[in-house]
Symmetry: D2
Subunit: 370 residues, 4 copies
């Protein structure tokens, strides 16, 4: 089912080249100040057509609040945000049904839909559906408003160029990523190399992958649940819903495999009367619950599937192999535009757990005294 | 909520040192041949006390089917499997409430439970809850029975010793892992080094991490759903519910970040009148749907948190820092015992999507002709 | 959560006097022929302004399909239908926040929303949200298309005037209700009395209640599930979501209380090699599963809360008792317009169980041979 | 899916003549004092073998807490209660597969299970599954503990003998029903007639139906949710999961159909600075939300299907009509034993909404000031 969240629940809908894309959000508390302008600010981070690093599609991505807001405040009723498509150019996709693009969902969605899929621009399987996810992230951020939680993401690696992991606090990430057209906190040291790498790929008609780092601070202790309701399960579930994401890790992640327990285990110590966690290899989560230390991890994003080099594929109308040369407007490094989406995912999951914490009486803004 | 699955749905319950651990499974189709003996075979792969590579706790892990089976066949009613605890030794855990073990859920579960947690052996947050997951995996495998799908997992890396990725087909993985006390298909080439690495850690009172590779073959095309219902979202959700898992990736995974689109995109070609996928960097999944190519990926398992070296922690009864030296019975490389759990997770998700495919009329045993 | 259905799942959104009302439907199979015109036909049965028996609000209720349909066919992706508000007159509701209307949700929704509710015309709590339910019913009917199932509803009682229960087959109900401006199959015998009763209430500034009978035929045997997933649980859940519904019963219903088992039990007999059910006091359902006999029952609809007689209420701005005299446009017997909504509910639940039956391999169009 | 509840979620399992029956409860807050003895007290109200009005099956119904409780307190982890079967006598059911009992689920569950159902005593479809529901009701009552809410039910009508509706407050209902072997608050006036009616049916080998009244007081204002999450939808959903329930109504219920709006609408007035509701025809619910007035309504229970008179049915082994004469131990008026089950259902739904109210910050114990 295309729904996510236990208490803050999202239903996505829409197509890349159809009428538009949208999301219904259930569980939004009443009283949040919210306007289309608030949504626009975050959407602008994700939308195409803004620099040479991203697709030239010129979608203004103007959000319209269809329900759930009255007099500038959420009412507690389901909140629907709708973003009309305006600059869809469907011509390049006319062949997708018969000549599937490698790396895209064309063929499998065609099968899944028994031949009835809208394949223009990827249809419902398009990355364009992440625009409403970003809108949901804005609402989530409003929900987190008074908690002091800071949740951010930035581009940490482009192709084989990577900065140091876990190097920035969440505020720095938010600030630096917002100031960078590549959404990276490593802009001062690596911005130029990132840009050159992407530009080279673009010029070659090729694309490159990347890794995004996410981080949340001031998350209270014990948000989450055991097993299926774990913080990691929920966040990974949502992140893997983002097209092009092929890996998710928390804290030391895959590097933990090559560590010893004595290196990996994070020591506790008392700090001003509270339990503090050192080292934080766990990425701020133990047993599916937050430890109060920063929640951090990584998201691997594959190189954009849309490239302009000749690719081997099949022609389903003839049943023969063929070679495809794509045209159209595409992102040479989709990881750039995935940064605000990953940030939105983090906020959405935090907002969901905020509601759980309230239900549990765990308090939304601090550690219970025990 | 501690429930997983849309159509094949699991509810876990139990504690490490309480009465036992169990699972209720909804959505099991009627008519499956199933006995406690069937469950035992898989549980034996996971249970402790079997070699020097795993904990010395001697749990026979005898499953009892409490409901949903009649005359040796599933009835379609909820199927409950219950495994009594028999060799719990709670003494070593008496201090956990006040002196939390680093890397364990002691402290956070104590907060989450507002001080009422059963902390003995990790209580409900224990890895022991994966025993009922393995039982659910057995039922899932029965559901997959007639489809021809082969789903398996094996230990691919121990500490810094790794074999080649994506090197074995699913049948080889199943066969080799079953024959290896370390559940690895790399036994011939790396078994000794794996063993030595674990043994060194054990002797030093330390532990090591590892990486598990999973793989499913003969999965029909287009199993899955877009976005939140994606194959990757569902499987990652379940895998991150397994204690100690800190990373999940599909296909090339994190390595995809350093690839170009022209390298990463998997070409299509016709093979005997059917669409085939070459290279399979995507791990058999595009747009959240299976491509018919093998589903494969990796799971990073942190080093066991229980080590016998002195560790810095806090004493909540005094509010001061302290040093903890654990005793008890633990696994020097929990990744070994996580292998059958990862395999079970893969089968559980496949069984859930099998039911979806039936609902969709997509056919469970083959590719629809289009 | 404002979502209904296990496999065919609805998310409602919208407000009576806001931008409009809508619904996202998940689980719609691909390939259904569907147009806005199809939706319009059913919506026209529900919409106001059509006769003197219903509200004078003149909403054209023009549906717009925002997603999930391509080239006139459903794609399998989430299907969103949106109906803009056009004739909202919010002036009469300006006082609702301070002077709640008896029988309406004004006051409780004000509390629920912590003072942020959109109270105009009932806001999200308005009966206007049943328009998207009717749209979902149209899609459900498309899903049922090839099964031969006929599902219908009609106005069975107005105030104290009632026809005989269980008197018409489903086709007759559908045909007669469609031909009657009061949506009743009793039009020939009781149409005039129904009309007079409603007209008297209208002239007196008052309103009357009614009872709706629903009926589905050709439903295959064993659709449903035990306990929480029972056919009755699912249908009653949905029917009680319809504003003004205060009672739901199946088969003999409340009258069953005054029966003996020997009267109430429905005998089985063989008919043309198949098991048939006589009498059908059970309303076509035993143990939560359909018996193959017609599914039938009743829905009690309270008299419209909006009346024009003086009513005692409170003024929250002064904290004193007051008397309210409503103006505006209202239905003297809301049960009339609830008929197509009840019919839609029945179809929605049947469509959900159709998908379950497919998943179970129970067959959608007939009784499995056993 | 056999699961109920959004935040306090139940998974039922078990069979009438199998190993036993049980329930897993998710969402139980930590810290509740709970023992098997607490559960026993409520189970004793439901269990058979206690008087001549109920089945002679002598089940002690001894509950065992398998998980989620430690040192006499709930831990917040899933709480499993298990009740072993001890006095199952399966011989009378040997024919059920071939000669289905009228009014029972034998035949439909046989079809649903594709021939693999456990039909002994109704198997999973048995009323015996309501024992774990009662256990869940006990836990729900513990959750409601500090709120002051009183939720009760009693036998209001037996066959054609009924007391006045809405005549007792919740405390009186609880007290009088507990003191009556027929679980009725009308014992003083109607106890003898109820008993004679049931006894006559029993002697005749027949059975009678009944109506149960439920009532909850001190429920805070605005518990519930719009539409699918409405208080009525949730409670009706659960009540219709109880075998033999064929009708559910709130407040005036079906009688509302024959009322005018001016009679049915409940006036508001100020009482000690708070909004109060007069008359309460709405049964304490408007727009799916509680009004602060008592929540009340009725549940129609059909006469027990098991009677000892000859009944027409079919023999599936021969494909011919036949006559069945049942033996065994049955209830002449199952409505008697359904009373504690209805009470449990009411408490379960209240507990679920308590958690929602906490999540919303609506306060669990009183009306928010507005």
């Amino acid at each position: 089912m295309n729904q996510f969240g236990e208490r803050f629940r999202l239903s996505l809908f829409g197509e890349s080249h159809g009428e538009g894309v949208g999301v219904v959000m259930d569980g939004v508390p009443p009283g949040l100040s919210l306007s289309a302008k608030d949504l626009q600010a975050d959407l602008d981070q994700r939308r195409p057509g803004q620099s040479r690093f991203v697709s030239a599609r010129r979608e203004p991505d103007v959000p319209r609040i269809l329900s759930g807001v009255h007099n500038g405040r959420s009412t507690g009723a389901p909140l629907c945000v709708w973003i009309e498509n305006r600059d869809a150019q469907s011509k390049p996709y006319e062949k997708s049904a018969n000549v599937p693009r490698p790396g895209h969902a064309d063929w499998v969605s065609h099968v899944w839909s028994r031949g009835f899929a809208d394949l223009r621009g990827g249809g419902h399987f398009s990355g364009r559906l992440t625009a409403p996810l970003v809108a949901a992230g804005t609402v989530a951020q409003k929900m987190l408003g008074s908690t002091g939680i800071v949740a951010a993401a930035h581009l940490h690696q482009v192709h084989d160029v990577a900065g140091p992991v876990n190097a920035w606090d969440a505020r720095a990430i938010a600030r630096k990523a917002a100031a960078s057209s590549l959404h990276t906190a490593h802009a001062a040291s690596l911005g130029k190399r990132f840009a050159n790498t992407i530009e080279s790929a673009r010029k070659a008609g090729d694309s490159v992958g990347g890794i995004i780092e996410f981080r949340a601070e001031q998350v209270p202790v014990a948000w989450g649940a055991p097993f299926f309701g774990s913080f990691e399960s929920q966040l990974a579930h949502l992140l893997f819903a983002v097209p092009a994401v092929k890996g998710v890790s928390f804290g030391a992640g895959f590097a933990a495999a090559a560590m010893k327990g004595s290196q990996h285990n994070d020591p506790y110590r008392m700090e001003k009367g509270k339990v503090a966690v050192d080292r934080n290899n766990a990425g701020g989560i133990l047993g599916g619950l937050t430890t109060g230390a920063p929640v951090w991890g990584h998201v691997a994003v594959k190189p954009s599937s849309s490239i302009f080099l000749p690719q081997e594929t099949v022609d389903l109308s003839t049943g023969k192999d063929t070679v495809l040369e794509l045209t159209g407007r595409h992102d040479p490094c989709i990881a750039v535009r995935a940064v605000p989406v990953v940030q939105a995912c983090l906020r959405i999951v935090l907002a969901d757990f905020l509601l759980l914490a309230r239900q549990q009486g765990l308090g939304a803004t601090g550690t219970p005294a025990i």
